[in-house]
Symmetry: C2
Subunit: 547 residues, 2 copies
């Protein structure tokens, strides 16, 4: 069996028709959901691209792998999905984005060249890169945001698009009065991107994927990782005018959210992005473009499904559809992601397992508390391996896919956010290590702990599914707060770094030192089997004390 | 300035005359204490050799570096004292024991050969090995406990000691009726070891140290790490009869300790070693040998001090004397170490800083809560570096040495113990990750949390300095317990794995993406400086949408 692990960037959990979106029809997502299981309570380990992805790719919490924000390098030697899969005979390929920054200093210290196979995998988050393109070819006076080469830009140039950065000038810009109309500017969101649709980012990566599937040696795991529907929000014809202001739901927000708001949330509600999304005019421009980008993703998913069906591979390929986090789109007075409301921290997660064992669950949903880190465990098990649970902190989802209810499933989902690198930390006057948040969610109550001496936040999603009422504003919920803090404390004591020794090795090693001669405090030696003592008895070989 | 970092193995904090021992005179330890500062509340991060040492050598808690018990490999790439010192121009040498196990699997995965300089340092815990000898050449039917070569055994052979393992047959055995009388057997503890005193382990390593100091390029840090006074407890003449039963203090233990004892402590009180030390006959044989081994250490320390004085290096060498943990010696019904009473978890720590800045504190004691991990930070600062506090969790002791009281010094010391590999975990029916203990000590109250569903332990060292009364046996101390659990929870959330990005780098990086073209959600572009937008404006280069 192969594994097709497809990630979209910033795809909000409820922007699919199978998840109930009233206007956006996503028949191909829905088809996979009908063939598999849709997980309705799936959470990322951090509501930000880089940190979230490092958790997907290592199966470990962000506090465990340490790459807690965009651009924080993943430490050299940290074990990844690719390490685990190759060990059991499955190749592990990357097509698209990882947002992984290599630990160049650590690699130099260990003498690893990025040109070697080992060094290249260390640089690419454990994947073999079929094509890596992180998809943000932003450029300013200090140069490119991303200093790598862009295969996508090279593709565009090969197709005749002029200039140094056709990503910016064509794929993410329209035209107005003969001038570039950049996708960074909101008022351009409804314009068609100045690019042939088949050359835009999502179809380009899809074509790479079809090429890959034709050429790759099996079994493979392929991480197909689209940059879209992530901003800049602009989309080529014919998608640009598929949706309009009448398809934009009212913002889910309430005045009470801004009253006595938690200082960290308050700082986030005051960012430029949040203030943009607080304007209905912005939402009405941007959300149709966002929807159109998703619609294009759905159409391109259709190409992949067609290819799998045509080649007969559909019966032998596990398919996973997910995202690295959501998008507030103006809900809760917020833009982007970064915080822990469902809009940001919950993700779509659809898993199709082609094997007979999964027949009973096809087309169902599963509301178990699932974490992004569970996918690494799932893939290792799907590939026939045993999950090394002293390294991988997630748990395999296969039991759920096969209609079983695993014992001792987690009681809480944990997510973290390190905002030390942001203007909000500056605004709040926080040292880097005080600019950290932890979410503990038990399926009903959601506690958010903030370092730095702030009070927590608490939401009850049963009585307040919209998460408007922060119950920690008053003193009436201490019992729930304490209970969730207990979960957080237990999690804080978890065994996460004993990565060089498995539980099985520990159990097998118990008592072994006795048979290697460590025989402390024997009264006369008769209390142990004679062969244990054999090396310590016999005639004295010489007498040196008298010298 | 050079740094002479001397560690003794299993040297209990109160077995020095400067620490008040009534019978054991240790003039050379006392001399260093008179020249420097003796820390009277210094704690190890784990009361077991390997885990404790990995914390000394990384400056990190055992849950952070992951090598939580003897023989658990230190993960490849984990930064060590040697890495930090070499970066700032100081060599870092090892003479003696580290108890470090290399991460052979991780090294193979990264293509590191132990024969290379980089690989050798990875294998030797970041040190350049002048001579490594872990000092436990135990041997049984399954072979040697330690599979490396023993430079000490090679030395003995070169001196004419016959046989394969003169460590066992001579250095750690006497003679009785022409037969080997092994040091593993208690009744032999008072016999002279069958070896010339100058060939025994402590003088041998001291001679290596003198050779090193004559030859090494400065500046150096040298970790001189003796195996003694660790068992087997047997010592050559003339030390073997320096002490007798009349020098052995009564065991510090009380019946109340065994009443309703905590299950984990109870399991440890029932080990073979504990039961041996519960017998006064055993204590009276063993403790005189233990004292004699310390006396020999003191004499050999005198050789080092003489050499430093003779060569004029005393004014340019920082000296640190410490141990990796203590020894119960029958107190609390216990033998060995493993638990968190002061006898096991507190260590001797004497630091001599030759510089003028330390003149004011010479000959004083300091009762601040100090942890073993503080030494890495101290050495980095002493060598002129800045402590990378995103990696090193300890704090420099230099302020204390220079008569300053650091702001925000830690409020609690933390120590951990992973006993997953022991018979006690088997006895208690625990899975490996439930066989873990955490100590939180605030200078007065000591809480011990046990995973696996057990109650905690609590001692009040003010009202009960002997730690006989576990206050958690009843329900009257919940406030103290909760308070210490809060400290533990805060510690559990510490930032310990963001080792690739310093606080300074984070602060310097804030806002940098704007000047690299990440310009989200502009209304019309006028809200940012024109040069930020420069790459996104201008005449459209072509029109592709109409194709």
């Amino acid at each position: 069996m192969n594994i097709l692990f497809i990630m979209y960037d910033q795809l909000r959990h409820d922007y699919l028709s199978c998840a109930g979106h009233p206007h956006l029809k996503t028949p191909n997502f829905d088809l996979v959901a009908a063939m598999g299981v849709r997980f309705t309570n799936a959470y990322v380990q951090s509501p930000i691209c880089g940190a979230s992805r490092m958790s997907f790719y290592t199966g470990r919490y962000t506090s465990s792998h340490g790459a807690q924000w965009n651009g924080f390098p993943l430490r050299v030697g940290e074990l990844t999905l690719g390490d685990h899969l190759r060990k059991i005979g499955m190749d592990c390929w990357l097509l698209g984005k990882t947002h992984m920054k290599a630990d160049a200093e650590g690699m130099a210290r260990l003498g690893l060249s990025p040109d070697s196979v080992i060094g290249a995998r260390q640089s690419e988050c454990g994947f073999d890169a079929w094509v890596r393109d992180d998809g943000l070819w932003a450029e300013g006076p200090d140069g490119f945001y991303d200093e790598k080469r862009s295969p996508y830009n090279e593709y565009l140039k090969s197709q005749g698009y002029p200039g140094d950065n056709p990503w910016a000038d064509f794929a993410n810009a329209g035209i107005e009065d003969g001038q570039i109309a950049s996708g960074w500017i909101l008022k351009n969101a409804a314009k068609p991107a100045n690019i042939r649709e088949e050359d835009s980012e999502t179809p380009w990566l899809t074509s790479q994927t079809l090429d890959f599937m034709e050429q790759a040696r099996t079994p493979w795991c392929a991480h197909v990782s689209y940059i879209k529907p992530h901003w800049p929000y602009i989309v080529p014809a014919p998608y640009h005018d598929m949706f309009g202001p009448n398809h934009v739901p009212a913002a889910r927000r309430a005045e009470v959210e801004r009253e006595d708001a938690h200082p960290v949330l308050s700082a986030y509600m005051e960012t430029r992005v949040a203030e943009a999304f607080q304007q209905d005019a912005v939402r009405q421009k941007v959300i149709p473009a966002y929807m159109a980008l998703i619609k294009q993703c759905d159409d391109q998913l259709g190409r992949i499904l067609d290819h799998l069906e045509r080649t007969g591979a559909l019966s032998d390929t596990m398919i996973v559809l997910t995202s690295d986090h959501g998008d507030y789109l103006g809900d809760h007075w917020m833009g982007e992601k970064d915080m822990f409301h469902e809009q940001a921290v919950k993700i779509p997660l659809i898993v199709y397992d082609p094997r007979d064992a999964a027949d009973a669950t096809r087309g169902t949903t599963c509301d178990a508390l699932v974490e992004a880190i569970d996918l690494t465990a799932t893939f290792i098990e799907a590939a026939g391996g045993e999950v090394p649970d002293h390294i991988v902190e997630g748990r395999s989802l296969l039991p759920w896919l096969h209609g079983e209810v695993p014992e001792d499933w987690r009681q809480v989902a944990i997510s973290e956010y390190d905002y030390s690198g942001t203007g909000q930390a500056v605004k709040l006057g926080l040292s880097p290590r005080d600019a950290r948040l932890f979410m503990v969610f038990d399926g009903r109550f959601k506690l958010i702990h903030a370092e730095g001496g702030f009070r927590p936040m608490l939401f009850d999603l049963e009585t307040d599914p919209e998460e408007f009422h922060d119950l920690a504003k008053d003193d009436n919920h201490q019992a729930e707060i304490d209970r969730l803090y207990d979960h957080l404390a237990r999690w804080g004591r978890r065994m996460s770094q004993r990565v060089t020794k498995s539980d099985a090795e520990i159990i097998a090693g118990r008592g072994k030192s006795l048979r290697r001669g460590i025989l402390t405090f024997l009264a006369d030696g008769t209390e142990v089997p004679p062969e244990w003592m054999e090396k310590y008895v016999g005639p004295a070989k010489a007498d040196y004390t008298g010298d």
